[in-house]
């Protein structure tokens, strides 16, 4: 019985199906809010207020012709969209959604595993680009990896700094610590800021949408993907956004905890939505960096800030 | 005579002095800031050289005109709003002119355009490849020559395609 329940948790709630659906929802939130900030309507006609638009886009892409250019490396090209979707789905299992310290799976040290998956994601992007053998893709893929060099280390540091304080390397443990003390956004505001910026880079959003900068290199590493494969890639981007928002929620905003009269799941929902809104807001404010500016800037500013946060944790009681 | 007109006359006289009055076939001051000249083909390079030294460094464009059995090529030079048009006439069956890109680098595209559309060959031009016409365009068909009517061009292009 318990095994069945676990399976249900993994596949339906708060597992794969839930993550995908909420991914669509957050894409809608993001698009809608982004549009409103720009004085537009955003999605409007599919479902109430355009709520079903991301889903409709997904279905449309599934129905489209799937073109495989002759020159691509067939196996890698076919398998990469699946891997790109699987990676954030796996990582999101380790983040508590329904209640504090109740992630679907958890072990001591799973934070390290999540950081590893975040890196793997960028490496997979590179492989996907490389298998396309298109100049735009290749350029986009190499940019993704160069960008990874910029944000990976500061991101890992600021994700581990709460772990130092909470004296545990599991996401569950960190949320639990915050529920008993204070959320880390208050204790480590610098870390929170750096994490948000790094996740923007991980998600390839403005000002860090360098690997898929559409005015420069068409669709970047996604150029050759079409139909079902592109649908999966788009979906993986949505799920990754969920992962980023829920990870920030879990590590800096005390996860699904809050005053007792609101159920924990609703808390999770409110907090992740807030993180998404922050992402969308930042997206409206900037022009895209150049890749050299991005890497230079993150080594010059993000890394010192992240280290400063570590030092502060050590110094302050 | 106003100073502006005097200036225009001076420019023409200066040019005549430099390249020889016999080489300047026709001069016309149309109005203030507009001078039209016709020079001999042999004197074109010297004329442009002299004018560029006089400050006519900006070339607005080069126009080609089909005059029947010859082709007129007009170099529209500019100095702070004063437009000076130097015209040369080359025979239609052998339209060859020296390039002026070594004097005014900005003329590169204009020479290519005239070459493309009227078939004038600019000797010494760095790259006289097709600029505006498609790769498959039939050789020797110059759309702006009067002897090719629109219908002719359509037919010839369709034959090649």
């Amino acid at each position: 019985m318990e095994a069945y329940l676990k399976l249900l948790e993994i596949t339906v709630f708060p597992g794969i199906l839930f993550l995908i659906l909420i991914g669509f929802f957050y894409e809608w939130v993001d698009r809608k809010f982004y549009a409103r900030l720009q004085n537009r309507y955003g999605p409007l006609h599919t479902g109430p207020g355009g709520l079903l638009q991301p889903f409709a886009d997904f279905v449309k892409l599934l129905a489209k012709e799937d073109i495989e250019p002759e020159a691509v490396d067939k196996h890698t090209f076919r398998v990469m969209p699946i891997i790109l979707l699987a990676l954030p789905l796996i990582a999101a299992m380790y983040v508590p959604v329904t209640d504090i310290s109740r992630a679907v799976v958890s072990f001591e040290g799973d934070l390290v595993f999540i950081v590893f998956i975040l890196t793997m994601y960028a490496v997979s992007v590179f492989l996907a680009a490389w298998s396309s053998t298109n100049p735009f893709s290749t350029l986009g893929g190499s940019r993704a990896v160069i960008q990874l060099l910029g944000f990976e280390i500061p991101l890992a540091i600021v994700l581990f700094t709460p772990a130092i304080k909470a004296k545990t390397l599991s996401v569950n443990g960190i949320t639990l610590w915050q529920a008993n003390h204070l959320p880390f956004i208050l204790l480590q505001p610098i870390g929170f800021t750096v994490a948000v910026i790094c996740f923007l880079a991980e998600l390839e959003k403005v000002p860090f949408d360098i690997p898929e900068a559409k005015t420069e290199i068409v669709a970047g590493w996604q150029t050759e993907f079409s139909g079902r494969k592109l649908a999966l890639i788009r979906l993986s981007a949505d799920v990754e956004m969920v992962l980023a928002a829920s990870l920030i929620t879990a590590i800096f905003l005390a996860g699904p905890s809050g005053p007792w009269f609101i159920p924990p799941f609703i808390w999770f929902f409110i907090k992740t939505t807030a993180v998404i809104l922050i992402f969308s807001n930042i997206r409206t404010l900037f022009a895209r960096f150049r890749v050299d500016q991005m890497v230079g800037g993150s080594w010059k500013y993000l890394l010192p800030l992240a280290l400063l946060q570590v030092a502060l944790v050590q110094v302050l009681p | 005579m106003s100073p502006a007109q005097e200036n225009q006359v001076n420019i023409i006289e200066g040019l005549k002095e430099r390249i020889g009055g016999g080489n300047v076939l026709e001069t016309r001051i149309a109005r203030v800031r507009r001078i039209f000249l016709t020079v001999k083909v042999e004197a074109l390079k010297a004329a442009v050289n002299h004018l560029a030294a006089q400050g006519f460094k900006h070339i607005t464009t080069i126009s080609g005109i089909d005059l029947g059995d010859s082709i007129g090529v007009v170099y529209h030079l500019d100095r702070e709003g004063l437009q000076l048009s130097v015209k040369v006439v080359v025979p239609e069956n052998n339209p060859v002119l020296p390039t002026i890109t070594d004097i005014i680098p900005g003329a590169v595209l204009y020479e290519r355009e005239v070459h493309d559309l009227l078939g004038v060959v600019f000797e010494g031009h760095p790259d006289l490849s097709r600029l505006v016409l498609p790769e498959k365009w039939p050789d020797g068909l110059y759309p702006l020559r009067k002897k090719h009517s629109v219908e002719d061009i359509k037919r010839m292009v369709n034959e090649v395609a």
Binding site: Q38, N39, R40, E70, P135, F136, T138, L139, V206, P207, D209, I210, A213, T215, E216, I217, V218, T284, L285, F286, A287, R288, F289, R290, V291, D292 | A30, R31, R34, F36, K57, H58, I59, T60, T61, S63, I65, H76, E80, G81, Q83, S85, I104, P105, G106, A107, D116, L117, R130, L131, V132, L133, P134, P143, L144, V150, I153, K154, V157, N158
Partner: protein, 396 residues
């Protein structure tokens, strides 16, 4: 310059279809990593044969064909054309017509520069700027529609004057609109000067030194952003520019940022011109009656279009059709410069550098051959199309 082929360089085509180009044109870049080492431009993808077609139309019909050379600077083309034919006929448009021409031309410049600012933002991933400027551009578009009866192809200028008078209601609306536009452009100027990411992407990018700009015969805002004070409105006054006071804006940064600020300041200057022209609008007729035939003549007309010096040359032969009509658009003049600017830059800077000349390839490609479609149906049915695609796919 031919560079040695090396293992590390590869070529990326930008165009004929590419998101950075609103129109089809092809630039082949040889890149080494993220650095551009060589550029080749190939024009001609949107040739419609307008120069040849102009020889087959009457002077009246050509008014509307010339307008369609370009969508954004359509006002500049008709202005240049009408002035050219005016001169060939030896007539002069009445003062009121010349002022109306000036007002509409300046509204066109405001509209074009607003459009450019948005596009520039879009090229560097700053979509919010794009959305806002295009929203505000609607104000100008509405004014143009109110004055001329259409948003894009105004069909207002004609040989010997203008076709419509500007109504008192329209004058009032233009005054209001100018006020809004002025506030907005001042806001954008302040914003652009402060926004760090925008400056990071534009300062020091796409440098064109003054000497290069002069040698390569650059025109318009590109030239003025390299510190060269050259403006056809001042140098070779047309319409009513000799009666309207205004400044020629120059910046000497020689980079994309300078071009941005030149254009922004020019909008302010244009709004001032419009305000002045409205106040000093003379009374009187708006057009003179003109003959249909133009005597044998050879004239040149130049207009400062939003993108730079626009050049028209006509050779008339006494009939009602021109013998030769030549158009040189500002973008063609700026292409040698932009190729020079791109060399040595980053791939990421290609779109913004290209955009910084405000390219309008539709204008650039107008010669060659009249559309062969007319009289012959080239419209494919769905079945034909799918059969073609099956055949094509089967061949591979």
């Amino acid at each position: 310059m031919k560079l040695p082929e090396s293992e590390t360089t590869f070529q990326i085509p930008i165009g004929p279809q590419h998101p950075a180009l609103a129109e089809s044109e092809n630039f082949t870049f040889t890149v080494d990593g993220e650095t551009v080492v060589d550029v080749k431009a190939r024009l001609g993808y949107v040739h419609r044969g307008i120069e040849k077609a102009l020889e087959n139309g009457t002077y009246i019909q050509n008014l509307y064909l010339i307008e369609r050379i370009c969508g954004i600077c359509s006002h500049a083309h008709t202005l240049c054309y009408s002035q050219n034919i005016d001169e060939a006929l030896g007539i002069e448009a009445p003062p009121r017509a010349r002022f109306i021409r000036t007002i509409v031309a300046e509204l066109g410049r405001v509209h074009s520069h607003y459009l450019w600012l948005g596009l520039a933002g879009h090229e560097i991933g700053f979509d919010t700027l794009f959305m806002y400027t295009w929203r505000d551009r609607e104000v100008v578009m509405d004014l143009q529609e109110l004055i001329t009866g259409n948003r894009v192809n105004f069909a207002l200028f004609t040989i010997g004057g203008v076709r419509r008078d500007i109504t008192p209601y329209a004058i009032e609306q233009v005054r209001k609109g100018v006020k809004t536009l002025e506030e907005r452009i001042q806001y954008y100027k302040k914003m652009c000067a402060k926004e760090v990411t925008l400056l990071k992407r534009t300062v020091g990018v796409g440098v064109l030194k003054p000497s290069q700009a002069i040698n390569l015969c650059a025109v318009g805002p590109l030239l003025r952003a390299s510190g060269v004070k050259r403006d056809i409105r001042k140098d070779d006054p047309h319409a009513a520019y000799d009666e309207v006071p205004f400044n020629v804006i120059t910046y000497d940064g020689c980079d994309v940022a300078s071009r941005l600020f030149v254009r922004v300041d020019e909008v302010v200057e244009s709004l001032n011109i419009i305000r002045y022209a409205l106040e000093h609008l003379p009374d009187g007729p708006i057009r003179v009656k003109v003959p249909r035939r133009v005597p044998t003549h050879e004239t040149i007309s130049r207009v400062e279009a939003p993108r730079g010096e626009l050049f028209h040359y006509v050779k008339s032969n006494g009939t009602d059709k021109p013998e030769r009509y030549k158009v040189r658009t500002p973008t063609l003049a700026n292409i040698p410069s932009v190729c020079e600017m791109l060399k040595g830059g980053y791939v990421a800077d290609i779109p913004i550098t290209l955009a910084s000349i405000d390219p309008c390839f539709c204008c650039t490609d107008r010669v060659a051959i009249v559309d062969a479609v007319k009289g012959k149906k080239r419209v494919w049915t769905w079945e034909q199309l799918s059969r073609y695609s099956e055949k094509w796919h089967g061949r591979r």
